[in-house]
Each structure stands twice: as C-alpha cells, then as structure tokens.
C-alpha cells in the first residue's frame, strides 16, 4: 500500500515524510550524539532558544499595536497596557525576557569559557556566540527607545553622544542612527527598523550557524574527558532541557505577572525632575562614565567595551593550549574572574545610585486638579460628553497645546456653543502641571482637605512669583518655610494688602482677587509651614 493510502495521522505523517523527509530530520535532531557526562550545565543553549522564540512572539504581538512615531509611540504603548487583552502581560514578558536573555547568554558564555569549549575546532562556534551576545545588547539598546518615554529619551541622548564621540566616523555613525540632532522621528524609525528587521534577520542567521556548527563538531562535553560510547540527545538530555526550560518559563511568567515593566512620562527634554538611569545591564558602563575624567571619556565609553568585546571574540586564537580544566589556565581564569567581578561591582554601585524623583504633586499640580473639576471643564470632559474623560485623554499632547486649550478651549476645540470663560494664565500653568503629574503615572498623595484647598489657591495665584517645594517662580521669596518668620494674622494682612503693611512692598494686593476666607485658608496653611 502506498503511504498516501494509509489511514489516520500515521498516514499523513508517511505522506509528508515521502515528500519532505521530516522523519530523518527529526531523527537527526533527537539522536544528536552527546559525549558521556553531558549534564544540566548544557541546557542553557535550549533555554536561550526558548527565550529568543518568546521574544519573537511577544515582539510580534506588540508590533501589532505599536506606532514608531514621536507623537504616537507613548500613546500606543499606553494603549497596549490599558486597551489590549493581555497587553500588559505581553509587554512585561518582552521586557523581562530581555533581562533573562542577558543573564542566560552570559551564563552560557561563562560555561563555554570555563569548560574551555572555545578551542579548535570550535573557534567559529564561540565567535558566532559572542556576536549573538553583542546583538542581544543591541536589541536591548534599540528596544528601550521605542516607548519614547523619559528613560528612552535620555538613554538615547547618551548613546548617540557616545557614538558621536567616536574619532573620525562619529558624526556619520550618529547620522546613520538618526541622531544628527536630539532624538526624534528619524531616530525612532531607524531604531525600530534595526530592532524588528535588521537585528532579528542577523540573529536568525547567526543562531542557525551557531547550532549547525555545534552539531558539526559536537558538544565539547565535560571538562574531564570520560570514556564511553556517545549518548543520544533523546530522551535523557531532552528531558533535562525541557525541565530547565519549564522552570525558566515559570520564572519569567512570575516576573511578568508580579512585576511591572516601567513606563515613564513621555519624553520631555525640558523636565528637570527626572534623573536618567540605564537598564541594569548597562549600569557598569554608566558607572565607568561617571568615574572616568573627561579626557578619558572616549576610552571609557568606547575603547573599554570594544577592547573587551574584541578580547572575548578572539579568545580562541589567544589561548590555543590543549588543556581544558580552568585550574590549568590560572592567568586567563583570574583575568576572567577579575572582569566579571569588576562588572558586578560597577553594577552594584550603579544600583546604589538611584536619586529619588521629586514628587510632581506640588502646589501647581494640586491647583490644576481642582481647576479641572470646575463645571467649565467637566461640562465637556465627562462620561458621554463631547470630550474624553480626563483618564482617557492623550496626555502626550504638547504642553503648549494643553496651555492654549485651557486658556481658550474654543481655539482648539471649535464648535463649543458656549465656551467656558477664559482662565488666568497662572491657572492654565497649574492645569499643565497637573497633566504632567498625571502622565508621569504617579498616584496623587493623600492630604488633608484644608491643606489641599490652600495648596489649590497657592498653586493658582502665588506660584507665578513664589517658589514652594521647589515649584514656582523666583521673583518673590520662597514660601516653603515662611511659617518660621510670620504668623497667620501677619500673612493674611500682607496678602490682602501688602502696601498697608509695608509702604515699599512690591507684591500686588489680593484682597480684590481672593475672598477673605480664601486668604485666611492660605495664611493658616503657610503659617503651619515651619
């Protein structure tokens, strides 16, 4: 009977085998002869294949919704988080998966190093692996620009400036990366293309080459050669690989479910309240940059990583002896330990240096929130209203846009029959500060109603000239600790009519702008600040 006539699944299998030969391919994969003593330490390759496949799949899912343009990138990522089924999970898997790959690839390389598995004839297997490790870092670097949030923006500014500092070709390289100015549309599209087309294509080629080379020369096996016949990959090693992959999968899922990959406020080069820090696997370079004097900058940023990469890449040609146990290679082993320890220590310093981000919920933001609750705003910004509710707004709108919309809603939203009355400029600034706090995703602090009421008035009327909690203008005195100097009665009298207190006063009177009750609230609050 011909294979095509056989019934059931076996029949289809036979039919396909006659045309594709898939059974011999499967046999070739499963019967891979392994040197005796191959064990758990040799499962990292499969773990990496699994993690790379996960990145490809989750990356594809993200690309369905992501828009690589400066005016939509952040909104599209936020949409993935809030509007797509499993969107947050997929993004977390993709972000934490990147960290998992960095760890697994490093362990994989260290295993090959200490087992001396890079020696002839496996030089090219080693080199293709090191290139893949560098590509992984390239993926990470290009990947975290994509959300176009604050972290993305500043990491890219620094990266582009490092590229620019390369002797001779610096400007050209920066230009090719879309970085002839600050990061913008050109940068985002180029890094996106690198991240989803160029790097994946090169990685697939390198992974295929790496695996085929591994099969051609076989595994190097345990450090001390053991006598005995080769063991097939299936079933024992296949089971080990499956168990470790399953553990890694569970760990990754746990990270993605419990943890939250951060999304900062949209990129804003003028925001001083943000201290940029890179992803943890670049912290060693960050510390190196901090610690080296300016004359050594190019050395620290380019030469050290480049020399390190080159040394590791050319390792098989630098160490050609036949002995494999690490104890027999004391200098090389010590050098490797030194490098690994150095990277770990620098990373530790980097982790310790996390400056606190000052809260964005200060007087102006609180005033802005109060203003936005007014009838004039809520009339349109409500459920079923002609504009979105505040939580569904596109906060990545330019601040200048928000400002002009608040000052005169009709200018930007024409067709409003009865436009709300115009706001004071200082009130419009307060609303902008509020949207800034909103889009930073920082929860509003709990505070007493009387404090909130006072801060709302201060944020709308005093901050144009006065600073309070490092927020506001510099023309008048700082109000943060004004209670140490004056009591509530004095402040009340002063705010109502400064000239009545001091004939040389420069501050305008507020008796006609605020009610006596409002002035009293502000004075009592400020008197408590000591």
């Amino acid at each position: 009977m011909s294979p095509g006539r056989a019934g059931g699944a076996a029949g289809i299998g036979d039919w396909l085998d006659a045309r594709t030969g898939w059974r011999s391919i499967a046999r070739w994969a499963l019967d891979e002869p392994l040197p005796p003593g191959t064990g758990w330490l040799f499962t990292l390759g499969s773990v990496l294949l699994f993690l790379l496949a996960t990145q490809a799949l989750t990356g594809l899912a993200l690309a369905l919704y992501y828009a690589p343009t400066p005016d939509h990138a952040h909104d599209s990522v936020r949409f993935i988080l809030s509007g797509v089924t499993f969107g947050r999970l997929v993004r977390d898997l993709h972000c934490f998966g990147a960290s998992f790959i960095v760890v697994a690839a490093t362990l994989h390389a260290l295993r090959a190093f200490f087992f001396g598995a890079y020696r002839a004839p496996r030089e090219l297997t080693w080199i293709s692996g090191v290139l893949l490790l560098l590509l992984v870092l390239g993926f990470a670097l290009t990947g975290y620009l994509l959300p176009f949030d604050q972290r993305a923006y500043w990491a890219t500014v620094v990266t582009l400036n490092i590229a620019r500092s390369t002797p001779i070709v610096g400007e050209t390289v920066a230009g090719l990366l879309g970085g002839s100015g600050p990061p913008g549309a050109a940068t985002l599209s180029r890094w996106y293309v690198l991240h989803v087309i160029v790097l994946p294509a090169v990685s697939v080629a390198l992974v295929v080459g790496h695996v085929l080379l591994m099969r051609r020369h076989g595994l190097a096996g345990p450090i001390r050669h053991r006598e005995g016949p080769a063991v097939p990959f299936y079933p024992r090693q296949a089971l080990r690989d499956t168990i470790v992959v399953a553990c890694v999968f569970v760990a990754l899922m746990a990270f993605a479910i419990v943890g939250d990959a951060p999304l900062d406020a949209p990129a804003d080069p003028s925001d001083a309240g943000y201290a940029p820090r890179p992803e943890w696997y670049f912290l060693w370079l960050f510390e190196l940059l901090k610690r080296s004097p300016s004359s050594m900058d190019t050395v620290a940023a380019l030469a050290v990583p480049l020399a390190l990469a080159l040394l590791v890449l050319l390792l098989p040609f630098l160490d050609r002896r036949a002995t494999r146990p690490p104890a027999r290679r004391p200098i090389l082993g010590a050098a490797a330990l030194f490098v690994v320890a150095g990277l770990a220590v620098l990373t530790g310093f980097g982790l310790a240096d996390r400056p606190p981000t000052p809260t964005r919920w200060r007087a102006r933001a609180i005033a802005g929130r109060t203003i936005a609750q007014r009838e004039a705003c809520v009339r349109c910004h409500r459920d079923g209203g002609i504009a979105h509710t505040f939580d569904r707004l596109r906060p990545s709108r330019d601040e200048a846009w928000i400002f002009s919309h608040v000052v005169d809603p009709e200018v930007i939203a024409p067709g409003i029959r009865t436009p709300p009355g115009p706001l004071l400029k200082s009130e419009a600034h307060a609303v902008v500060a509020w949207t800034r706090a909103l889009r930073a995703g920082e929860p509003a602090p709990a505070m007493l109603p009387r404090d909130e009421h006072a801060l709302s008035i201060i944020g709308a009327h005093c901050t144009p000239c006065h600073m309070i909690d490092d927020d506001g203008g510099a023309e008048g005195p700082n109000l943060s600790l004004v209670g140490r100097k004056h009591d509530a009665d004095w402040i009340s009298a002063w705010v109502a009519d400064p000239l009545g207190v001091d004939p040389d006063a420069e501050m305008p009177a507020f008796a006609d702008k605020l009610t006596a009750q409002q002035i009293r609230t502000v004075a009592e609050y400020l008197a408590r600040r000591r």
Binding site: T69, P70, D71, W154, V157, V158, L160, N161, I162, G175, L176, G178, S180, G181, P182, G184, A185, A186, S189, D268, P269, S270, D271, A272, Y274, A275, P276, F286, L289, K290, S292, P293, S294, S295, D297, P355, D398, E399, A400, A474, E475
Partner: protein
C-alpha cells in the same frame, strides 16, 4: 566566459540596488531648524542672584513631523551683560539644573557640576556649558537659538 558574465551582471545589479538603498539610508536631510533671535524674557525678570530658568519652544522640522522642541536656557545678569547658558551638559547631553543650595549647575546623569558662569567645577564634562549669544534690546533679553 559564462562565469564572468554571471558575476558581472550580478555585481552590476548589486551595485545599483546598493547605491539606491545606500542613498536612502544615508539621507541626512531629516532635520532642520532655523537660527533665530528669540525674545526670552524681560530684563527686569532676570534675578541677580540665581539664574533664571526658561523653557523656550522651538519649531522644528523632524522628517515628516513638524514638532516643537523644548530648549532650556539659564539667564543671569551681573549688572552689565546678560549671560545665556544652554542646559545641555557638555559630557553626554543630559539636562542640567540649578542647585540653589550648592550654587552650582548639576547634571543628574554622570555627576558633572558647573559654576554660575558655566565653568566646570567637578565631574566628567570636557567643556564649560555652551554660551548662547544674548543681547538686551529695549529692556528685553534676546537669545539666539538654532
């Protein structure tokens, strides 16, 4: 003969496609800003102790987008001349801010510090903060940005 023909034709095709693709990749005309004098502030608003921090919005052509770039400038006035300093750290481009307690500009990234005139006080920056051309006209401070 055949071999050379095949090689030649393939090389010609590769060269043509390579030139076209290379031209697209290398195209640098993605960004343009115009250099212009911008009214930054009234002179009387510039305090004589701490520098005045200003955010200036600059219209910019960014490939297919017309976007607004927000540049931060620090103005200070010593009674004679106005100094306008760019807030871009000369080390690797982070945004410096004024630390009023230490009376220094501080960079949040790699710890660069500058004094009121923009000269480097500490950290890795290779150059002082960039001084932007500034002048006073009819009581207003004008700053040239590009």
């Amino acid at each position: 003969m055949v071999l050379w023909t095949v090689r030649g034709v393939l090389a010609a095709i590769a060269a043509t496609l390579g030139t076209v693709a290379g031209g697209v990749v290398g195209s640098a005309r993605t960004r343009r800003t115009r250099e212009s004098w911008i009214v930054a502030a009234d002179l009387e608003r510039v305090p004589d102790i701490d520098p005045l921090e200003l955010t200036i919005a600059l219209e910019r052509e960014d490939s297919y987008l017309r976007s607004t770039e927000r540049r931060v400038v620090f103005l200070s006035y010593d009674g004679e001349a106005v100094t306008a300093l760019s807030a871009v750290c000369t080390h690797l481009g982070c945004r410096v801010s004024w630390d009023a307690r230490a009376r220094e500009f501080a960079c949040p990234c790699h710890g660069g510090r500058y004094n009121l005139t923009g000269a480097v006080e500490a950290g890795p920056p290779p150059r002082p903060l960039e001084r932007l051309p500034a002048r006073v006209e009819e009581g207003r401070v004008l700053v040239r940005l590009e």
